[in-house]
């Protein structure tokens, strides 16, 4: 009941495929309140990541995650590049030296990753950003951890909490990023960053349900 290096690669691959499938949807969400490039940017970054994955097959978990972070930093651009790049770099730093990840390791890793996103983007809850998905998902993961849930169950609960957080961005008025310039007009639209973060959590739940 632990995540191995090949499971981490399977998660990244699942997330990359999900970004590709949802590329137009993410761009459409971003066109409503941003500048209409979130799907294209994330897809460009994760296609570059997919090209690197074969070379990472025999690497440690932390090395895989750091390589993903560096690739995103140099290929995504926009705000998403530094934010998702920092997410994976911090996740990599938090998992240094671990041959496999227990539920507690994943929870601690996600905490570091989310802290990194907060530090880089200087955003908080209900600013209508990716944190509105990640923060409730992290809380649900910690609660599942404390309640002694299995890995599969905890990831499912975490992804569900993330989805509720993502949907809760719809009525919010954006306070960070380009959407904040719209003021009240940003309300009524789901945040694209919160949506791609939900795809990340769902990909983990799907890829690791047998781990």
């Amino acid at each position: 009941m632990a995540v191995q290096a090949n499971d981490v690669i399977a998660w990244i691959r699942t997330f990359a495929e999900s970004i590709r499938e949802n590329k137009d949807y993410l761009t459409q969400l971003d066109s409503a309140i941003g500048d209409g490039d979130h799907g294209t940017n994330m897809d460009r970054g994760f296609q570059a990541v997919l090209l690197k994955l074969p070379d990472l097959a025999d690497k440690e978990i932390c090395a895989i995650l750091k390589a993903v972070g560096m690739t995103l930093v140099s290929t995504v651009g926009g705000a998403s590049g530094p934010l998702y790049g920092t997410f994976f770099l911090q996740l990599g730093a938090a998992t240094a030296g671990k041959p496999e990840l227990s539920l507690a390791d994943w929870s601690a890793g996600l905490q570091s990753a989310v802290d990194g996103v907060i530090m880089r983007g200087k955003a908080g809850p209900v600013d209508k950003t990716m944190l509105d998905t990640l923060l409730p998902a992290l809380e649900a993961l910690k609660a599942a951890c404390a309640a002694g849930s299995g890995l599969g169950e905890a990831l499912r609960l975490s992804a569900e909490a993330g989805e509720r957080g993502m949907l809760a961005t719809i009525p919010l008025v954006a306070r960070k990023g380009r959407a904040s310039y719209l003021g009240e007009r940003s309300a009524g639209h789901q945040d694209p960053g919160a949506t791609s973060s939900e795809l990340l959590l769902k990909a983990a739940a799907a890829a690791w349900n047998q781990a």
Binding site: S74, L182, G183
Partner: protein, 333 residues
């Protein structure tokens, strides 16, 4: 989508290849990461000026690389900020030992990428200062937004700070002059049409034939108010009055007046707007010390314009008048 392109994903690279061919006397271009660098960089003992941002705003920033203005530009994908590795490469390429100034438009993506790059450059021992431009009065400046957007003032700040750097002034002084231009500059823009990002393939927003958007940004992001189209006189007043009230500009002030096209508006219409602006200034006794009319900070094929005013003093005027030799701006040589 109706565009003069081959493949949407190749637009930025093909345009860079063309700049290298067309302006070989002014600049050189490196790929992966993409940077546009002054032909004689690094200039020893001179502060290096680096700017950058999404592509689609041409001639900004690549068209402003050359003597008396920028030392390097980092073009991102269309409307997407450049990446830290790119900005770091540009910073290293122009460091002549006197430090490097980053001129950054206030957009979350640009700020985050330039901050990451400045951290990396300092780790390598390069002195870096950053100036953020945030002159767009259409956007509320409050702790509840990402702050005002950087728009037209960026072009003017790059010219004026570039002239100061060309005189071999130290980094802190060049940065302070750049901040002074931003602090004394205000802008507001409007759109008659939307624009289409090549890779998106369709307009960023729909704007009916008889409507316009006031307070537009330079990335096709919608503005604050949509209304029925009216005359150039009324539109100009809607742009100029908020600018004048914001700084505020007062009777007797001297200004650098910049009427900018968004990419799809002909120069003749920009002059119609300039004329209305000059009438408003005459009534308020604001003196136009210098002016710039044309499309310099654009939004692909968007039709519309923006107005930028900077309150000038003798020093800023003399720096504005100093020689510049770039693909986009050229005088005094």
């Amino acid at each position: 989508m109706k565009k003069l392109i081959n493949k949407p994903e190749n637009v930025v690279k093909e345009a860079l290849e063309a700049m290298a061919l067309a302006h070989a006397d002014l600049l050189k271009i490196s790929y992966d990461p993409n940077i546009i660098v002054r032909a004689d960089a690094p200039v020893r003992g001179k502060v290096g000026l680096v700017s950058g941002g999404g592509s689609g705003h041409e001639p900004m920033h690549g068209g402003f690389v050359g003597m008396g203005m920028l030392d390097a530009a980092c073009p991102g994908s269309v409307f997407t900020s450049p990446t830290p590795d790119q900005i770091l490469a540009a910073t290293k390429a122009v460091d002549g030992g006197a430090g490097v100034l980053h001129i950054v438009k206030n957009y979350t993506g640009d700020i985050l990428n330039f901050e990451m790059a400045a951290d990396l450059a300092r780790d390598e021992g390069i002195q870096v200062e950053a100036v953020i431009t945030d002159d767009d009065v259409a956007v509320k400046d409050s702790t509840w937004t990402a702050g005002r957007r950087g728009v037209g003032v960026t072009v003017l700040a790059e010219k004026i700070a570039g002239a100061a750097a060309q005189q071999n002034r130290p980094l802190k002084e060049v940065a302070d002059i750049c901040r002074q231009v931003n602090a004394n500059g205000r802008s507001m823009g409007m759109a008659l049409t939307s624009c289409t990002v090549p890779e998106a393939g369709k307009p960023t927003f729909d704007l009916p034939e008889d409507e316009m958007e006031i307070g537009i940004g330079i990335h096709g992001e919608p503005g604050r108010v949509r209304m029925k189209l009216t005359s150039a006189a009324e539109i100009t007043a809607m742009l100029v009055n908020p600018i004048l009230e914001d700084l505020p500009f007062r009777s007797g002030d001297s200004v650098l007046a910049f009427v900018n096209g968004m990419g799809g508006t002909p120069l003749i219409e920009l002059y119609v707007v300039y004329n209305e602006m000059a009438k408003l200034f005459a009534r308020r006794n604001i003196k136009i010390a210098r002016s710039l009319v044309g499309s310099y900070i654009t939004s692909l094929e968007m039709a519309g314009c923006s107005i930028t005013l900077v309150k000038m003093n003798d020093e800023l005027i003399s720096l504005w008048d100093a020689p510049v030799k770039t693909a986009g701006l050229r005088w005094g040589i």
